[in-house]
């Protein structure tokens, strides 16, 4: 029997664009994922703490404000510090093409931007996580 993959979805900072993350939560649920929604206005530290307690397989950050480089740098550092660097880290929202490689260099496993296909996201996670 396959076990559901657990994913924490969060938004960091003052970014209040909620449509994408809400759609994503519902679509992943409908594909058999356990989605923990920790809400808006998070700090990287809070996201890492929640991920540790919830023991998620994946952390997903939605960022449309342009603050992704700063937030993800701090989050990736926190994750390392707390022994969470074995978890999959993905980012979505508004991310310019030229930022994708630098994000990956920080430890982000994949980036999904506007129009990202939900089946592709689910398929990526299923191949990246071994439950």
């Amino acid at each position: 029997m396959t076990q559901p993959i657990r994913i924490l979805l969060a938004k960091i900072g003052l970014d209040t664009h909620t449509i994408g993350i809400t759609v994503l939560a519902k679509e992943l649920r409908d594909r058999g994922f356990e989605v923990i929604f920790s809400g808006l206005k998070q700090t990287p530290e809070k996201v890492a703490h929640a991920a540790l307690q919830e023991d998620v397989d994946v952390i997903g950050v939605s960022c449309l404000s342009g603050g992704h480089m700063t937030h993800l740098k701090v989050l990736a550092e926190k994750m390392k510090e707390m022994g969470l660097d074995d978890r999959i880290l993905i980012v979505g929202g508004v991310v310019p093409e030229e930022d994708v490689e630098p994000l990956k260099a920080l430890g982000v496993d994949q980036v999904f931007t506007m129009g990202a296909n939900m089946d592709d996201i689910a398929a990526f996670l299923r191949s990246a996580v071994s439950v």
Binding site: L28, R29, S38, L52
Partner: protein
Amino acid sequence: MRRPIVLDDAWRAAIQSRDIATLARTITAIERSPEFLLQLSREVFSVQPVSSIGITGVPGAGKSTLLNQLIKHYRQAGKNIAVLAVDPSSIQTGGAVLGDRLRMQDHALDDGVFVRSLSTKGQLGGVSETTFITAQLLKFAGFDRIFIETVGIGQNELDIVRVADVSALVFIPGGGDYVQGIKSGVMEVGDVFAINKSDLDGVRALEKVLQMEAHDRENKTGFVTTVCRTNAISGDGVAELSHALETALQSSQALARRASQLRAFSELLLTIELRQHWLKPFVAGERGTAFFADLERGKTQPADIVDAFREAQE
């Protein structure tokens, strides 16, 4: 790939110092492996009883928000608190959106507060099968109080009594008529009645109905049911709610519940054992597969599965 958990001295020491990473990984292992659940059950019952408190009520009543306030109240008294927050899983896909944590953000960075979201994993009683043993693990870890938030309940989610010593049943104002619509079984799970959102209209009408119910119950059983008003946004009434819950924990009823929980959990272990070693192998095996194929073609009827199962055991 996750490292498997070994229940050795290092594990015990980590759990009893409430190491969050170890606790969290252990809870995942309970959910993912029935064999691990059984092994763990041999480890975690050697503790002094720790009280567990259920928070139940209709969807949107304010259970999670109220918990955020209750946690604050207990933290001010220096208590370490663990919360298990249960939300429903989709019957079709097994997926879930677990959103209770969102309301408990005030404690996101407090090491004395552990919050874990659980999906019902298809169970219909308001909590998941692993909720009781997970609560027991948290007791073993030395938290002072364990809170369990059920899914939003309607007519028939009564399993909270199998996992919590006492429970608050949370209501919202709005006439009080709907209380009559709540099945008596659901009313019985509340040891304390909390009227949350007491900032809204209709508190008095609901309070009257609940007080009548409480009176009735006291006449029949002798147990006192406190009716409290709370506002989970401002925190008003939360101290009174906590006091009522602590009083209820001292009752003989709470003690009796604890004993019956152990019985229910023993039966659950047996159910899991039968499912894992008898039911599943049969259903997935040659005879089970053949039976279901025949059933689909109309060549057999449901009751024949029992004969097939009995034959398979011979």
